[in-house]
Symmetry: D2
Subunit: 385 residues, 4 copies
Amino acid sequence: MGKRKVCVVITARPSYSRIRSALFAIRNHPELELQIVSAASMLLDRYGQTVNHVEQDGFKVDARVYMVLEGENLVTSAKTTGLGLIELATTFDNLRPDMVVTIADRYETIATAIAASYMNIPLVHMQGGEVTGSIDEKVRHAITKLADLHLVTTQKARERVIRMGEEPERVFVTGCPSIDLADEVQKNPGDSIDPFERFGGVGATVDLTNGYLVVMQHSVTTEYEKARKQITETLYAIKESGLPTLWFWPNVDAGSDGVSKGIRSFREIEGPTNIHFFKDIPPLDFLRMVNRSRCIIGNSSVAIRECSYLGVPAVNIGIREIGRERGPNVIDVDYDRKAIQAAILRHINAPRPKGVTLYGDGHAGEHIADVLASAPLEYSKRLTY
Amino acid sequence: MGKRKVCVVITARPSYSRIRSALFAIRNHPELELQIVSAASMLLDRYGQTVNHVEQDGFKVDARVYMVLEGENLVTSAKTTGLGLIELATTFDNLRPDMVVTIADRYETIATAIAASYMNIPLVHMQGGEVTGSIDEKVRHAITKLADLHLVTTQKARERVIRMGEEPERVFVTGCPSIDLADEVQKNPGDSIDPFERFGGVGATVDLTNGYLVVMQHSVTTEYEKARKQITETLYAIKESGLPTLWFWPNVDAGSDGVSKGIRSFREIEGPTNIHFFKDIPPLDFLRMVNRSRCIIGNSSVAIRECSYLGVPAVNIGIREIGRERGPNVIDVDYDRKAIQAAILRHINAPRPKGVTLYGDGHAGEHIADVLASAPLEYSKRLTY
Amino acid sequence: MGKRKVCVVITARPSYSRIRSALFAIRNHPELELQIVSAASMLLDRYGQTVNHVEQDGFKVDARVYMVLEGENLVTSAKTTGLGLIELATTFDNLRPDMVVTIADRYETIATAIAASYMNIPLVHMQGGEVTGSIDEKVRHAITKLADLHLVTTQKARERVIRMGEEPERVFVTGCPSIDLADEVQKNPGDSIDPFERFGGVGATVDLTNGYLVVMQHSVTTEYEKARKQITETLYAIKESGLPTLWFWPNVDAGSDGVSKGIRSFREIEGPTNIHFFKDIPPLDFLRMVNRSRCIIGNSSVAIRECSYLGVPAVNIGIREIGRERGPNVIDVDYDRKAIQAAILRHINAPRPKGVTLYGDGHAGEHIADVLASAPLEYSKRLTY
Amino acid sequence: MGKRKVCVVITARPSYSRIRSALFAIRNHPELELQIVSAASMLLDRYGQTVNHVEQDGFKVDARVYMVLEGENLVTSAKTTGLGLIELATTFDNLRPDMVVTIADRYETIATAIAASYMNIPLVHMQGGEVTGSIDEKVRHAITKLADLHLVTTQKARERVIRMGEEPERVFVTGCPSIDLADEVQKNPGDSIDPFERFGGVGATVDLTNGYLVVMQHSVTTEYEKARKQITETLYAIKESGLPTLWFWPNVDAGSDGVSKGIRSFREIEGPTNIHFFKDIPPLDFLRMVNRSRCIIGNSSVAIRECSYLGVPAVNIGIREIGRERGPNVIDVDYDRKAIQAAILRHINAPRPKGVTLYGDGHAGEHIADVLASAPLEYSKRLTY
């Protein structure tokens, strides 16, 4: 029979964190053969060439696909996706996988989903059934309707996928591999490191000995023009807090240019002395820094997922993560510097919240590999009602 | 305020039939401005350059996009879609519509859906919520999850779209414009014409005076290799029936090459004397010939939709239209020459079935224009559960 | 140092004949490693899936790229080239060759040339410096200006390339690999075969015992609309000659649709009894049939190149091969049935012409491999004046 | 007969300067109709959205095409060109021009050349026949071989184009439109402005009253990895000179990322107090600032072309402009801070050089429009030897 060839397409840094432990488990599974396609912002210097981390982790990258158009606007998002679709079809035609895995809901991932499903290659969708704001919401559910196998992170997500008309026996709750990393971090928090020496970055070299904040804030696609204003509120909230802060650069997205400009111009004008800015930190190091922090601020899903497991206090700003299930570690606020500051204060004056297993039990990678090895290889389906 | 610019993207001959009356209604509506993009097989000689029919109907074509890759296989289906996505994004960027209309569920139409939804242009999906076999099934529901406004043909379709998590107030039952054409044909069946003189084609010049059969059979994407065998069963069933038959060439699709080859080789070997083959007939003429026929055979949706209204007996073969709602005019059979023959005989020995308004009341075009003029222009949504 | 990785991109059946013996020589050369990319019409059923011949010859195909757009017009020629450029760039990025070989002057080959030269991979152009009609003329010389190494077939070609501003030490006369095949055919003409049984095809099963004609006529790009008329002149000339004829289907090109239609319609109307039509014959078998024939008619370059070596009489029609150097075996005529017939008669009433080594000495493959192994790997150059 | 539709494709800021006066002349010519396609970095914020300047000049932009891939490396250069080719073909198919104008030799301009020539639209190439370093050299001459009409800037360029095999009657010396702008600047040098207030930018607000330097330095494609080192030499030369300097941000190119990074890191580390950095200055304002300057340093072609007419002293660094004809205003140096400083000193201690008409007489725009209105519309040609 031969091993099942499982082709995983990774298009961005956060997606790598959400699949990493599963990649190890697939590679080690006796009935599976791993193929990795590294595409989109994975290859870009501006987003830290995450493909290098993949190789440093010992994985072989079977194909590389540059596909991101410059412009970072809505037109180029669509064109990037079209280019990816063209080239991923060729890639699959040459790699001949038995199944294709697509991760979550970034706009360009629908290219993976269409290429596989049109080519009658069983499509596995990780992390469907969640509910959030922005274009991701449309993308995620559209991919659910293209996918043949659904590996979701929560029970509620499973119920939603089934309610959308998918067959229950094709929907598995495996938890999220990102929680496996959180589990690793919890078990081995690591030694305290000097992030400035190790990861460079720009801005003030802040004193971390009495605790620090972490910020990661992405733009929100469907509110493109407001991106700059939104980031500015957070920047002032942090500056005025005076607390030492490690700020991590946002990910590629329509609008990230607004965010980038907001940050650059703020630095030029305000010269904040309590913030250091980083780009491209390996996932494990990043999560360790978050785990040690007093609070994470912004709209990263890490604050809601990994931090629910780790019990790191989180201030979630705006609509990006609206609808996502939350543990007790999250306070939601609007794009408002006063509200952001108040939430930070509430968190750092309270005891650290207890971690919960809402998004996984720390063994998602193995669960995923087991499902991939045993699920029937089908690529035809019909609405259940 | 200005008129709403409604951009309709048409990618294939049958889609034109399913939107034509709405195009007239949009053009004539005082609050709407019509933009037409003609793409994919609309432009190809091999499929009758349907774009010419559009212009003969008096419409202006605002943009043309060649996008179909040669190969007619699963890889090229995906790549065609990717190319369409790239170029439709540019097209919308230049035309700047207020809303985009995509029709039904052909594989390449997801390009229209993605381009519009990623560009924050409200997306209108015609004819969602239906259930059929093949890749169309995945495409249709994925587009539902991308669309902001759903114009469906039946009550059952509306229920399904809502059940998939769409807001009820965004789902309208307008009926299908193809029924408007059927209504026109019923009211004005036209004079009997000589199709051989008027439309050419190849094969026997059959005698139509005592009634005739019509055949239209497409390949079924996910059963690509069986396409040729399937068409051959129908060819023998028709040949052996000895009844005069007008056979209409199938549409562009992965696998249509199998169908084409099956037909060519059958003609070469069997030299059937009761079949004439046509390509590229204007929709109205085609439907008039169907309306006058004793029975329509194959797997065209015309047999199920338009013919339910007209009361034309239909023999539906195989899985392509499985799940689609049927009127009393349809007998379903497998790919089996004996079964096909038996069903034809049962039909032509019975009285003509009564027409029903299952797929529309003959005024779908106007209903559609009214909804487009009055619905809120939104491009953000969330799963209702 | 490692072997030099030589990546050969093949995009069409005739190109394969023009490189085949060099592929063997490269594969067998101790300092070279062969990579093959099979693209464009090489993969298409309609043009005989030549990729299968490559694999039957024992070569491994490293990447396949579908890139031909349907439409066969001037717009789609350009778009096909653009798509090829995008995907060949990705292919080279993944294969990492030390040099790229592009063959001759078909429109889509400029994609290979641009991808390689923009990526600083030394580009080897085979068969530059020739002069012909149509768009190939522009393409060929443009590729010369992009290429770093020129492997030409004749002394005159070498002079032209140098005159265009290329450095003399980068221009090598190796002869054409197609002559190696002709040499093989001359040394081993093979047993007489029954082409009808072996290669199928359609039309009359003609009697070959007293000699036969061979026809191969391509469309001429820049005279797109005249393609059908031109082919019709040849069809009548052949029909009226009454001589048994093997007609080989033309290659993919803008306008070949005109040619195809002309042939189909002629067969339908005139039902010629002395012509059999073939598609997709392996190069060796084709050349053996040509070698045994009394005369080759049309505008194939085979008539001018291989047949100059073999001494097969040729009637060359129209402007496609204008400017190409000729041996004594060629009579040139216009698109005119009378002129074509007269030239055929003149040839079959005269003694067979003597073969000449104008286009190669039968060892081009080895010469080519030697140059590829020894030439400096450079990708920077400047006009010599 | 109607006016000739002249479609000009502009892909970058410097190209706009090299065509601007011709656009006015074409628009005003009674027998010509102007179409403008704005593509590539013309649309990008990062390069100053030059498309806005075009519209501010009163021109209508007929189509916009986003085509630049992120990555700024050699792979993405090729893919950008392929994407442009696909979309420009569609654009020309929709705009239906009578002739297409492509400007100079940037890598992506070959997309314009191929689309037009493959579609049998007469192609006009501006500024062929020059000789420089880098990939532009290959691109320029390849476009010459695709073009039907050559509008060159110098007599020597004309001779080279003819020598490459082009017919003399298709090669016209019109001069360069950029000299028309220089002529305008010379006639009307304008009032002294405050560039810091008007154009923003970052860095020191230097004192311009006693003269200043101008720097513009692009990366050199085929020396990608050295880009950062090269720019650093110039940065130190300028810093150490202590002279007030206006530094203009380079253009999009493979490697410009190296340049950008070099500049950013230099500013962060060295904090130069005599340099101000600008991005996106309107051509006229830019040239006025250059005209008032004491010396222009870098590798911009402006230093060689416009400044030869204006008599502005220029220090040309490295190989980018090697081979280009020079007036008496240029000193050539290597990437070496000492050599750069020495050349600057030699210039500012000498009298200002005399202007020459090497690249045009100040009326190129009108000459160009006249040629476009009167030249035969041909798209077929053959090597002259």
